[in-house]
């Protein structure tokens, strides 16, 4: 594998990993605060992409009801991202209020909440299927694609924007969690759930905050996904979302850096499994082996380091 081909795949892997990382952040934040595997999160990512699709097509004037003026393309992009993030965050918080919080208030075991989450995921997915059909949907080109070539490596501006945005968001999130009061409260909640309410912090508010953040990041990932691949489908929540959960575990669930690293690791594995298949000696390695190899590596990894990369083993004490 020559250097330019390697760099080419590296860029693809970074882009692919960005989606995983952005979604994994939502899983890991909710898990950190609630110890809940929010299985609906993958489908929230899907909903985010669809909301983005509808906002964008509306702003571009493709419906009967249209704006009296045309917006510049950067404004469409910005409004789509912001609108979808707000609406999807609203959905995430709504789900938490309606399906999870009542269960928590009754003191039900968290396994029941997990089942509720699974059900919410299926509901979102099939509501979408019932409303908009099974066909893939084209996503409008919000960013005019341009191809650059530097030293044999060609890349689009979309790819750079996706990767850059993902990294920016992660830095921003790290700043929020490390340096704001809400972030401090989040870390405190994941550290000790009993002591936090005693300190005068409303746990419910912290939970709402983490659902808001997680869902809006999923929406961002959804729009970026649509922009990069120009096609979205009702089942992308399963095929991308569930894997993002695995990224979160590999990184050490509950840890924000872990979610990012885990996302990029899975992105690298998947892209390079497919890439290796193009070289002599590896012809048997067709792209259908992607899931098999990726998950086998993860399984081996978790066998030797079950707490993930950044996870700290919790000693059980009597």
């Amino acid at each position: 594998m020559t250097l330019d081909i390697f760099l080419q795949h590296l860029l693809n892997a970074l882009q692919w990993g960005s989606f995983y990382a952005l979604i994994a952040l939502g899983y890991t934040m909710v898990y950190g605060v609630l110890l809940l595997i929010n299985f609906a999160h993958g489908d929230i990512f899907m909903v985010g992409a669809y909301v983005g699709l509808f906002i964008a097509t509306f702003l571009l004037g493709q419906y009967a009801l249209r704006l009296p003026f045309t917006l510049p393309s950067w404004a469409v992009l910005a409004l789509t991202i912001v609108g979808s993030m707000i609406l999807t965050a609203g959905l995430g918080v709504f789900i938490e209020r309606v399906a999870y919080r009542p269960l928590r208030d009754r003191g039900a075991s968290r396994l029941y909440v997990v089942i509720s989450a699974l059900m919410v995921g299926i509901l979102l997915e099939y509501l979408n299927l019932a409303a908009f059909g099974a066909a893939d949907r084209g996503f409008p080109q919000l960013i005019r694609k341009q191809i650059y070539t530097v030293g044999g490596v060609s890349f689009t501006n979309v790819k750079i924007i996706v990767i850059g945005l993902a990294i920016l968001v992660m830095i921003g999130l790290q700043l929020i969690v490390r340096h704001t009061k809400v972030g401090m409260a989040m870390r405190a909640t994941s550290f000790d759930k009993v002591a936090v309410p005693l300190m005068g912090i409303s746990t419910n508010r912290i939970i709402t905050a983490s659902f808001t953040l997680g869902s809006s990041l999923a929406a961002l990932a959804g729009i970026m996904f649509g922009t990069a691949y120009e096609v979205i489908s009702f089942d992308m929540g399963i095929f991308v979302g569930w894997k993002a959960f695995i990224c979160a575990v590999v990184g050490g669930i509950g840890d924000i850096r872990g979610a990012m690293v885990g996302g990029f690791i899975l992105g690298f594995i998947e892209i390079f499994v497919v890439a290796l298949g193009q070289f002599s000696g590896f012809e048997w390695l067709s792209s259908t082996y992607r899931d098999l190899v990726a998950f086998s590596i993860l399984l081996v990894f978790l066998t030797f380091r079950p707490t993930g990369i950044f996870g700290v083993a919790r000693r059980q004490k009597v």
């Binding site: 595997i37 509720s116 509901l123 019932a130 695995i246 098999l292 978790l302 009597v318």
Partner: protein
């Protein structure tokens, strides 16, 4: 009379379902639904052992079902059918009738071994890691089967139907339903006896407090691994039966995450740690699925909504952790002592 009431009920149900199918009183559709009910009962009761009694969280049950399905499906075709890959049948078709249960058992042993492979790493650590590892195994199994072109890959594996038809030609009986019935009874007996045994009490102790259980002398690691293997093996048994369903083919996507989710839903609907609850919920859920079939896609909108609402008002499921005998004491006197109640559920609708 009372002493025999439980065997009598079992025999009665057997006559009702198998006899009904044999004589053609129950049409093919009802037989198929009965078969689905049977498969789902085995899956639900076996998953309940891990998720309910042991308090772990396994969410890749369909993966083990796939192992059982493919192993026994391939064995059936290899031994008894002419196939483009496996060549001429090895044994005369007459042998299929006595060997069929053995094939099912081999399938379930294969599933249990796969269960062992993942039980060893996953039970060294905290509970949630079984969730992720079983999920990964579900992906791996489905992906591995998809990549095996020899057994059809993503197109699926066929040929079991010919053997089943040939078995029917040798001696006309609803063989699949008979073995499904036997499988259900065996599963329920195994799980019930397991849970009531010392080992089973250890399993429940692990759920309540693992460290305390360890101190009281429960070999927690061995108990967990054995319980998980048993659960996986029974899932493999259900898979083996499913491979021989009248549709005549299996493909990897039948055993994907939606299937695992269905089984999980049935466990929680019935109540964690209740065998009779699992049976009732498997029956209710399967019938509900069939009943809502005309709704098409909306079926999967209605069902999750029902469940979310149910979770809000009765999160512990239909039975909670109690058995039918606890709820209806008169049933207990009817069945004497602590006999399992499974068969009172309306299996023969």
């Amino acid at each position: 009379m009372r002493r025999h009431s439980l065997p009598l009920i079992v025999v009665g149900l057997f006559v009702l379902t198998i006899g009904g199918s044999w004589l053609g009183i129950l049409d093919a559709y009802v037989q198929l639904v009965l078969f689905y009910v049977g498969i789902n009962i085995i899956l639900t009761v076996s998953l309940n052992l891990v998720n309910g009694y042991m308090g772990e969280f396994s969410c890749g049950h369909a993966g083990f079902m796939a192992v059982g399905a493919y192993v026994s499906g391939i064995l059936t075709v290899w031994l008894f059918a002419e196939d483009s890959v496996f060549g001429l049948p090895i044994l005369p078709i007459g042998w299929a009738i006595p060997l069929f249960p053995i094939i099912l058992i081999i399938g379930s042993i294969a599933a249990a071994l796969v269960g062992l492979l993942i039980a060893i790493p996953s039970f060294r650590t905290r509970g949630d890691y079984l969730a992720i590892i079983s999920l990964a195994v579900n992906y791996i199994v489905v992906s591995a089967i998809t990549n095996m072109e020899v057994i059809g890959g993503s197109r699926g594996f066929v040929g079991m139907k010919r053997v089943m038809n040939a078995m029917g030609d040798v001696f006309d009986a609803p063989w699949l339903l008979i073995w499904t019935f036997v499988g259900i009874i065996a599963t329920i007996l195994i799980i019930h006896n397991f849970v009531s045994s010392t080992l089973g009490k250890g399993v429940e102790a692990i759920r309540e407090d693992e460290i305390a259980a360890e101190i009281m002398g429960v070999n927690t690691r061995r108990t967990k691994v054995m319980t998980f293997m048993l659960s996986c093996g029974l899932a493999g048994l259900a898979g083996g039966m499913f491979a021989h369903w009248p549709g005549g083919y299996i493909n990897p996507l039948m055993f994907f995450i939606l299937r695992s989710t269905e089984v999980m839903v049935m466990v929680y609907l019935g109540g964690m740690g209740s065998i009779s609850g699992s049976i009732i919920s498997a029956i209710l859920f399967t019938v509900l699925l069939e009943w809502l079939r005309p709704l098409g896609v909306f079926k999967w909108v209605v069902i999750p909504l029902l469940f979310i609402v149910m979770m809000l008002y009765r999160p512990q499921g239909i039975m909670g952790s109690s058995e039918l005998t606890d709820v209806l004491p008169r049933l207990q006197t009817l069945l004497r002592a602590d006999k399992e109640v499974k068969d009172n559920a309306p299996a023969s609708d």
